[in-house]
């Protein structure tokens, strides 16, 4: 069998990004592409899919306290603790075109940040529209700004545009010509971004989140239309999403039941 080993690695450093989001750095001997994810085993708690927010050495994941496992992890973990990492899994953002717009919401930035950097590294002009609930949740701003212009939005108006990041994205798309849109964030947000890009005929890639068990395309937990988010995704193109029955509407709960996004 093609074995994808589990790497047991110590946490090299833990950085508070916001009040509820931390970045955990580790070394693991694999190479990953922007948008790919790993399964992170938090011993005694859970194993969760996480985008790689740092692809280089050391690698990193950026985790928001969201529920039991992530809260426990944030509360208990200290530098030197061991975690299990397997991957990288899934496809990657396709880095091409000449002017790209990245649209991120919340912790979705963790998935898209490496893609923004990859754009800049390949000489693609890249702008980012980034929204969060409040200023304190806007993270990776330095890394973003190093790559190109950054446009912010907050729900409470504490920084940037007072309102949704989708408003900024719509304005940017209306104002100048982009030939690639990348997006990651809440699915409702991505749906708007995808519709906006599709409407203008701009290729768009969105990184989806679904509940995952295996991460390797066998258990069907992450089913999405006739796709598997872990295997065919997590990144899907706008034309696929336009035809999708599930996108922005349905996800599966932990027992496989169809529930509202």
């Amino acid at each position: 069998m093609a074995r994808r080993p589990m790497h047991i690695v110590p946490l090299l450093g833990i950085l508070d990004e916001t009040h509820d989001t931390r970045t955990y750095r580790f070394r693991a001997d694999f190479t990953a592409k922007p948008g790919q994810f790993v399964m992170v085993w938090i011993p005694k708690h859970d194993e969760l899919p996480m985008a790689l927010s740092y692809l280089g050495d050391p690698k990193g994941v950026t985790i928001r306290e969201y529920g039991d496992a992530t809260e426990a992890f944030a509360a208990e973990s200290v530098k030197g603790d061991l975690v299990g990492i397997r991957g990288p899994y899934g496809n990657a953002f396709v880095i091409e075109g000449s002017r790209a717009l990245a649209v991120a919401g919340g912790v979705g930035i963790a998935s898209i940040i490496a893609a923004v950097e990859a754009c800049a590294d390949s000489g693609i002009e890249v702008e980012t529209a980034f929204g969060a609930r409040t200023e304190g949740e806007l993270t990776f701003l330095d890394r973003l700004k190093r790559c190109g212009p950054v446009h912010l939005a907050t729900d409470d108006g504490s920084a940037g545009h007072h309102g949704f990041v989708t408003d900024i994205a719509a304005n940017l798309l209306a104002g100048r010509h982009f030939d690639m849109v990348l997006t990651c964030g809440p699915e409702i947000m991505m749906k708007k971004v995808v519709e906006a890009a599709n409407a203008r005929g701009i290729p768009v890639q969105a990184s989806l989140e679904r509940y995952m068990k295996c991460g390797i395309g066998i258990c069907d937990a992450c089913a999405f239309d006739e796709y598997l988010v872990c295997y065919d995704g997590p990144i899907f193109w706008g034309d696929v999403l336009a035809k999708s029955h599930d996108f922005g509407r349905w996800r599966r709960d932990i027992s496989g039941r169809r529930v509202k996004v």
Binding site: M1, G215, D220
Partner: protein, 303 residues
Amino acid sequence: MASLGTEVAGVKLRNPTMLASGFLDETGGSMLRVHRAGAGAVVTKSIGPEPRAGNLNPTLYEFDVGLLNAVGIPNPGIAAYEEEVTYALRGGAAVIGSVYGRNAEEYAAVAKRMASYGVLAVELNLSCPHAKGLGTEIAQDPEAVEEITRAVKKVVQVPVISKLSPNVADIASFAEAAVRGGADAVTAINTVKAIAIEPELRMPILRNVYGGLSGPAIKPVGLRCVYEIYERVDIPIVGVGGIVTGRDAIEYLMAGARAVQIGTAILDRGIDVFAKVCAEMEAWMDAHGYAKVEDLVGVAHGA
């Protein structure tokens, strides 16, 4: 050109490869995809009376020699599952419905409802080694196997296939129990009880500690079980466990299976493992002068 058509307890299959229960079969969309990828039939995820979350992660671990899992039969429950079966059937898939329950009545109730959705047959998962309070006890008591099979037979018209566990002293005696209960066929084997330990963390890897081993490691065990069962009962056998290539499938047929199921091999060979295995079987049969699947069934017992 060899013909791959086969028949299991009256169920006609375009080829002898089925999707094993638990792989890409929680949703109608995935089942249809596997059907399009060439599977002769798709066996659904094992479905119970109520929705079930299964175990917390980690639920899977890849060894070099196989896969360890303790997903714990997550499933949406028989009511919600109707739309999945319907979706797959509408798309043209040959669907066999796998069911489980806590006792014979539950099995019968779920199987009856499953049958009403239009599946070609029901498979009884009598054997899950890792779901606490579910399969373990049932799989290890021949009387329970007989009783459950009989209860299900009473309430469904479609063929009933009892799926057996290898984690017993004498699997063939369980096949005999299934026959007494009226089973139309048996499937062997489910996963082999196993664990994985992570020394750095000083702990078992699976959250559930115990899991089931599948993949190449268990092929010699699955083959043995099919061979043993074939010597003891006359109903058709569906072979499963570690099948990766057409040659593996042929070994199972020669041991006595009339059809095979494939699960873990999806990892190595992708979803089109079904078409690949079929092509390999066909080529092998052509090269060795076998015209049809039936000519292979049980021939290893001749010697």
